[in-house]
Amino acid sequence: MAQFRVAAPRTLDEAFSLLPIQDRDVKLVAGGTDVLIHIRAGKSAPKRLVLLSKISELDDDIRVTDTGIRIGALARLSDVVRHPVVLARFTALAEAAAQIGSEQIRNRGTVCGNVANASPAGDTLPPLYVFDAVVNLIGPNGRRAVPIAAFVQAPGRTDLAAGELIESIVCPFPPDGAGSGYIKLARRAGIDISTVGAAAMVCDADTVRLALGAVGPTPIRPLAAEPLLGAGLRDDEAFDRGITAAAEATTPISDIRASRDYRLAMVQVMAREAIRLSQQRSTSKDRVQA
């Protein structure tokens, strides 16, 4: 009668013994808000779920360290939304997490789970790209750290090797005075998947970082456009060229949420708004005016 079998290991070693090499029938579950919904909807039919929630070595802490923040494997989206240091220094991440699902979903869903899903529309991903997040993995052969942009490879595909799981995600502190923001375009304000998402950070008077979601197989950091966008903080013409260059780096598809053309038009609007919002939040505008 059981649709799937569930294992709730108490230790990492026990978990590793349950994660056979290359078994696509096994799914890891943190909050379960995607995995269980996909099973319900018939989109996936794993034979076994391995729950992370009872593994003693994993935690749900959001810890402030000397160099940045560390988000534990089980840290909930709603904890990120309310965390004072995330709000102050990693504003775009708090804003993105606040716009995922509903309160009920954010109370169960985790940041690390959102990353592990590697959805092109995953809202926490663009901010994590902008903040140069690093994904800490742990497996039977030890630990390794992978930059977020290398970790997320394709829709639903990551660099996670068989037997590995995400232990935490770390983000280094942005420079003092930096401001960031996340703008999400969706069909309605609540409980919707992004049609286009844009995260930006203005680090100083001429440095901009940008990451765009739901306009390619993975979030896109338009690195070639960033110098133009940085110069564009004081030069409207350069800014326009930067926005065009950023849009050219995207490869959106048409799906049930929007057409490719609509996304190409809107990604420019979202990118502009995200950068302007970040600039307002940074203290660098004062330096420009001074």
Binding site: M1, A2, Q3, F4, R5, V6, A7, A8, P9, E14, L18, V29, G32, T33, L36, I37, R40, A41, R48, L49, L51, S53, K54, S78, G101, S102, E103, Q104, I105, N107, R108, A189, G190, I191
Partner: protein, 165 residues
């Protein structure tokens, strides 16, 4: 570990419960079918509508997409645990007084989401109320009366100035 049942012990509406659950059973199913608590409704069964909302350690969750074994060691509150000793909770009174109950299917979830909100934020703005209830759909579209009921409940729950505690 992968046996087909799992023994869980948790606090349900203030009382300790121990029960063996199927490892693939969702909390909503266990509440309704094993424990006979039919106040928790199941509607979409995929975490969208909020009819099955319960509180787990004081926070809202869609019990249709939470594995029952995940609440081992937790405190769960269902709509049956909101009224105490047969006396309606001020949130329940307010929903009745404002006519915020139409077909009633969303009501248990609405009330639990309201409780989670007001327990942490006794004086929410309308925007905060809307955000807190965004995961609870009312297909009778009685939202205005529900919003009124929430602010009425907030008023009732706030200590009256000068009345002491």
């Amino acid at each position: 570990m992968t046996a087909d049942t799992f023994d869980i012990t948790f606090t349900l509406n203030g009382l300790r419960k121990s029960i063996a659950v199927r490892t693939d059973a969702m909390l909503a199913e266990v509440l309704r079918e094993n424990l006979g608590l039919l106040g928790t409704k199941v509607s979409c069964n995929e975490g969208e509508c909020g009819a099955c909302t319960v509180l787990i350690d004081g926070r809202t969750a869609n019990s249709c997409i939470v594995l029952a074994l995940e609440v081992d060691g937790c405190a769960v509150t269902t709509i049956e645990g909101v009224a105490v000793g047969g006396v309606l909770h001020p949130i329940q009174e307010s929903f009745i007084e404002e006519g915020a109950v139409h077909c009633g299917y969303c009501t248990p979830g609405m009330i639990l989401s309201t409780k989670a909100l007001l327990d942490h934020n006794p004086d929410p703005t309308t925007g905060e109320v809307r955000k807190a209830l965004e995961g609870n759909l009312c297909r009778c579209t009685g939202y205005n009366r529900i919003l009124k009921a929430v602010s009425r409940a907030a008023e009732k729950l706030r200590p009256t100035p000068g009345a002491g505690e």
